[in-house]
Amino acid sequence: MMSLYRAEWLKMRKRPATLGIVLITLIVVVLAMGGFTAYALSQGVGSAPYEAALQLLAYPSALQFTLSILSSLGMLLAVIFIANYVGSEYSRDTWKMILPRKGSRQLFLWMKIALTFTFILVLVAITLIVGQVVGMLGVLLLGGDIAPSTSTSLADIGKACFALVFQMGFYSLLALLAVIITRSTIGGIVIGVVASTVLGIITQLSTWAAKILPNVHIENIMLHVGVNGGRENQAFIDQMFGQSISVWVSVAVVSAYILAFLAGSMWIFTRRDMAGG
């Protein structure tokens, strides 16, 4: 099993798309941090943007800021990554080269999921480090303290990281199911993105839809850990649900979807003919 993980790691690590996703994420974070710093500098010492930048770019606030950026990109990053990673086995017809080498098809899919999880963790870690370093450089340019006392703790950051990985995991498995159904990278990306948009529209139709579908629950989780907004957004979420819903209920609902996507992917993948690309 470990050797199969190493085989998938080699493929994933050297994929141009993997490098592309990491680079684009880092560029977005660096541009956001750099832009914020430049704007603060242009507004001058003592201005509101200047003071906000000093606070936001210092340690550990920059970590939270980076997580917010990642959260905005998370759905797209997860969908594109897994659709490309699994879909290319169909489009290049490489399944036929690897599946006959092992008896269990399930094992291949578990490894793909494990590698996707690894990728998400590595991406989040690298982005956080780069985000914080760029943030600190920004603070130094602004002439502030790189680690002022703050109410944000590392435990809060850890919770936010967990929620982000959970969110990306959800979208990854949604896209995985789409790839396996359509047997195509494009199918996975289109269905992954469109499904998310359509679900977002449906959840606005009724409070029941919001309660049953996963979107608002994901938002609820992200808000709970301090990513993507504050109290005013919580009020909006409560309004969508028609009541206040505990974060644990939201975790349970999203987990149920994750399990359903996983079971569906496994069921189809192990039974369907692999008849060529």
């Binding site: 190493r6 085989a7 290049r92 036929k96 599946l99 006959p100 080498r101 008896g103 003919d273 008849a275």
Partner: protein, 320 residues
Amino acid sequence: MSEIAITARGLTKVYGRTPAVNKLDLDIKAGSVYGFLGPNGAGKTTTIRMLLGLIQPTAGTAQVLGHDIRTEREAIARKVAAIVESPAFYTYLSGIDNLRVFARTSGVDDSNARLQGLLERVGLGPRGKDKVKTYSLGMKQRLGIAATLLNDPQIIFLDEPTNGLDPAGTVEMRHMIERLGHEGRTIFLSSHLLHEVEQVCTSVAIIQQGVTIAQGRVQDLVNDGGGYAIEAAPFDRAMSVLQEHRELNASSQDGHWINVSAQASDMPQLVRALVAANVDVYQVQVRQRSLENLFLELTNGGGPANAFVPQPLAEMEVGQ
């Protein structure tokens, strides 16, 4: 190693209402180089994919090295390797990294020395570190052969391994297949190139529309039904003498040579009958078919099944 490498009984795959493979029977001896022939769409690749577990049979049974293809995939995976249609690779990886991926997937030694050794064996040693996207089709086929050797398989499935190769590449691939056969492995070779198959295969099966229409040793198949060709004059008198024996199916395509379906033991009596009828017999030649002729006869030139049309003598090889 078991005596029989692959058996299939009534192996069937139906897509919608169309049978791609229809009650296929196979018996392939271990250690043989087995040619699997058929026109396009005959069901060759579907059969290979079923034997490899890539697709599920609709009906029938098959065993690979004594293991059921439906229930014992793990055991089969350790003992077989395959190139299905054209070999597919991770083109952004180098040749040696592709082998490393396949070795790790199989759970076998992926050391540089071993992988480089395999690359050398197929003549790709100096190009092993280049990305596969820079390889020619012939190089990809050779890399595919190297990939099949990673788990030291007892059976290698090669599906059209010479497709797209130039003549030199085709000859090189043939030699490679011969070498693999000499190592005692069972080679399951699906190909359109009948001349190539005839040169390397010990046994063949010919399938059409998913049905086995001939199976056996190459020598037996090409000899069976070959008969004799007789050059005699006057032609009309010779023909009327031979047509008195209806079982000979005497016929001629060119008004010169007369083809008869006869055994060697019948020939002295036939010649005596011709001479007794004042016919001069100039030559009697064994009429041996090439595999290509046999294939075209049985498949009606690759057309619909069950439309048997004998090939004219002019298209047959005539030899001693």
